[in-house]
Symmetry: C2
Subunit: 547 residues, 2 copies
């Protein structure tokens, strides 16, 4: 394997651990916990794993642990630092007893069900320390939800003498980890399940989980290239750059990038939804910023757009729902309509409110909404190029304003979408340390017989030595939500809070950023320089923890 | 101005200079020079600036220089390091005599003609040291070609007491710098003109100019994000990523990125042209790599595509030329054809060869070729999304092969285009040092009365102290080429040489890279770490200079 100079230099980095984890540890138990809502229902569904106490590790006496094998699974989309969770887990497991073995299940939860696995030896682990990606064992999106999957998993876990399984994933994967923990506990299979909070989207966090891993590195990578684009924008002074950022279900990434780079516009989906803004409201807001800047002679700027925006616009959600229902019922008739008549046909069939919105959409998007459908017949919202949709609609609005004499200027747009660029970046120092600590903590939870817990590392805006390692019962984060028509116990998703410190910091400055060219250029992630350059956590985390 | 932590730390960086420039310098003249071709014609066109000797600066005696003012212009597209050329120039000019002033012309060559300028003081310069972008004075694309422009420029230069003008630009801007130098010399205006080799495209280089500035940083920035995508690709194992890279007139960027990241496929336009490959040949080549990888169970990969590919495919060039001619003559008739009949109409009018190619194009691209035309009626090749064009055509071919039983696999594509992400990145150590040295060297050329020279810094694969600073007569790089129907003296553009060391290194390994997953992950540019991480020049430069 050819390695870059940075990969070679970075392989030698020894991630920092919380002080309490450096020697022998003991468990300090807190009070029993409750789920965030729907306590009675959650308690009934998780009789063996509900109400457990919060756990904190503190320095303890050296003691001997019986040999044990551990399994690990990477679940869902990649996030920087996954390899460090595994190397922290490996080091922890080996420290407990060098005879312990760590097994990785291949290509996600499917590997457990299909019995595809490999032993992760020191040689393999050393190849992946402080690297990005999930390629050490691969990841996958199979959902562990059904009893026959749990039983298939049990077969191989028993065969390999695995005492505990660590599932590294987002909110859904951790929900499933908890269901699995409960199942194995109820069956007395003697297999523990521990979760680790992963997602670049930043939507798995709460009072006990300060941030999900990968968010730090991904946002810094996006902020680097957005900063570069802004410097270009401010040099060439002739383009508006519409930049879409990954993250469908929450706008944390867009918000964090905005705090880092100070763009002219950043749309936050949660605000759009709360204020019941229409697509036209969003377009008008952007167009007004463009027009105001043009009036000051600045025909350039930057707009950050969260990937999931369309699904947060209440009127668009209604349109999509009606389209899905209508085309499910009338697909055959629709397919017989001539291509050039399809748009009129759809408009004639929708309710007046939805027909008006549909008619206002640029042709390409309208066509996509009615044609590009998934195997269940639903609109594929993720294929909508929201950055182009918005810039086209802004251009149309500006043209109208120009005719009315309300806008004088030139409008030319460039489009970008960043997602895959950041999900597998090599982890920042923060993520390298945080992930390693999460993995190491997981090994301690296992050694101490815990199940249904999520590995937790807190106080993360302090230096790593002062971080607090422990475990949080996953049931504590749960509530009941409707999923595919059924009420299910799930980990509550953390959306951007409009009364939270990060959004308020953004909202307090955005008018200034819109008018002035107040761009900040964060530059690339640094690993070796001064600590204020290399070790700062995200603005989101700093603002949230400053409270 | 809010600054990022990296900006603040980086502002303190003192770029390295060649040893000879650290103290007083003297000029060492070489032999008289000849242009690379068409010597008689170039000599006739440049009687005052032809045949001048190569110049090298060596350590000399301290001497006094008369006060002088200097002007500087940024011309054309942004490239990392422009601000360092200006700060090197500033430091050189001030060292010669602290009373000297440096003026910047605003928004490119247009600023000279329109008398828009500002004095660049120490306070301003200090804000921009080691930063990316051209925003200190802005850039522009006005071409300095006409005598009335030269005369308008002379007015303001005289008014400001400017003895010399430094033009920072690509091959065309440096050609124009030389024409201006010749004009002012012929008129005895007493104003010198010095060029500096700028372009991320890397196509301004020759025996005396080892590389243009910005190429290093831009390629490393692209390689960072491509590497991240490759890590994602190798983790998720389900997408083919088609990645287009900026650079219309040469494929140096794609080639350098390929050498850095080892993708599965990289198309080099110069090879496509030399081998007279058709679009179908290119598509077949990619599809074959996809099919072979699929046969080995790998339904994922990466394809690098130079932005200018379409214009290098001889058959496409012929099609576009015929389309341009046809639509220029028959635009009105075409506009009256119904949208749904336009494609058939075009096919019926083209020669059989071109009609067949046109018919083979995906609908979106075919439509764009006939509809999206610039104000001169020409196809806007730069709007063609080559990365999508190729992936669509590859998908079509694979579907056909599947029916024939020649391909078994899944093909899903993601698309990326990187350009603006790298043009204004903060300069790497190499570009920071190289640019600063180029600017400083320019001040020494001016102090020694030179005009029509390009600032030159050679031996750039050695440590900076050993670099050789001097000047190269711009006429030396010229030949006669047809431009807009007229023969013109221009700096010869450096395309990728198929017998050059970089291409040969790539060609020797690409079959392996196609089959195996041999990805390298360069990671982000580092400024503070070990020298092998922070100070390596590009692979292109290393391979070229190793000869």
């Amino acid at each position: 394997m050819t390695k870059s100079a940075l990969q070679i230099a970075r392989a030698a980095y020894q991630p920092k651990l919380p002080k309490a984890l450096k020697g022998a540890v003991k468990v300090q138990e807190g009070e029993p916990t409750q789920s965030v809502a729907d306590q009675e229902e959650i308690k009934k569904l998780f009789p063996n794993t509900y109400g457990m106490p919060l756990i904190k590790f503190v320095e303890g006496e050296e003691k001997e642990y019986a040999p044990m094998n551990v399994g690990v699974i990477l679940s869902g989309g990649q996030a920087p630092g996954g390899h460090n969770v595994i190397s922290g887990l490996f080091d922890g497991v080996k420290k407990l007893n060098p005879a312990n073995k760590l097994y990785g299940f291949i290509l996600g939860p499917g590997g457990l069900v299909d019995h595809k696995y490999m032993e992760l030896t020191a040689d393999i682990i050393d190849e992946y320390r402080n690297t990005g990606g999930f390629d050490i064992i691969g990841s996958g999106r199979t959902k562990l939800e059904k009893e026959d999957q749990f039983e298939k998993g049990y077969e191989i876990l028993k065969e390999l003498g695995i005492k505990a399984l660590v599932i590294i994933g987002g909110d859904d994967s951790n929900t499933n980890a908890c269901v699995l923990a409960e199942y194995y506990a109820a069956k007395n299979y003697g297999i523990q399940v521990i979760g680790c909070p992963k997602t670049i989207d930043g939507d798995l966090k709460n009072d006990m989980i300060e941030t999900s891993f990968g968010f730090d590195t991904a946002c810094k990578t996006y902020a680097e290239v957005i900063g570069n684009i802004q410097r270009d924008c401010n040099s060439a002074r002739k383009y508006w750059h519409f930049i879409k950022l990954m993250g469908r279900s929450a706008s944390h990434i867009a918000l964090e990038c905005a705090l880092q780079v100070q763009p002219n516009v950043c749309i936050i989906s949660e605000e759009v939804e709360t204020k019941n803004m229409s697509l036209d409201d969003v377009v008008t807001y952007i167009a007004q910023v463009v027009a105001d800047r043009a009036a000051a002679g600045n025909n350039f700027g930057t707009v950050l757009i969260p990937e999931g925006l369309i699904e947060f616009i209440p009127a668009m959600k209604r349109l999509i729902a009606e389209l899905n229902d209508f085309l499910a019922a009338n697909g055959e008739e629709f397919n017989n309509i001539k291509r050039s008549k399809q748009r009129e046909y759809i408009i004639s069939k929708l309710t007046p409110e939805n027909a008006a919105i549909y008619a206002s959409l640029p042709e390409g998007v309208a066509r996509q909404l009615s044609l590009d459908r998934d195997p269940h017949g639903n609109v594929q919202v993720s294929l909508i190029e929201t950055e182009k949709l918005l810039s086209e609609m802004v251009a149309t609005k500006l043209a109208a304003w120009k005719e009315e004499g309300k806008y004088v200027g030139k409008f030319a747009a460039q489009h970008h979408f960043f997602g895959y660029e950041g999900r597998c970046a090599a982890p920042s120092n923060f993520d390298a340390d945080y992930c390693y600590s999460l993995g190491y903590t997981a090994s301690m939870l296992i050694a101490n017989g815990k199940t249904g817990y999520m590995s937790s590392v807190r106080n993360t805006t302090a230096p790593a030595a002062e971080w607090i390692a422990g475990g949080v019962p996953i049931t504590m984060m749960m509530n009941m939500e409707r999923r595919h028509g059924e009420m299910k116990p799930v980990i509550q998703k953390a959306l951007v809070k409009l009364d939270g410190a990060p959004f308020k910091a953004f909202a307090a400055q955005r008018e200034t950023w819109a008018k002035e060219t107040a761009y900040v250029y964060p530059g690339p992630i640094q690993y070796f320089g001064p600590t204020e350059v290399c070790d700062q956590p995200t603005k989101t985390l700093q603002l949230e923890q400053a409270k």
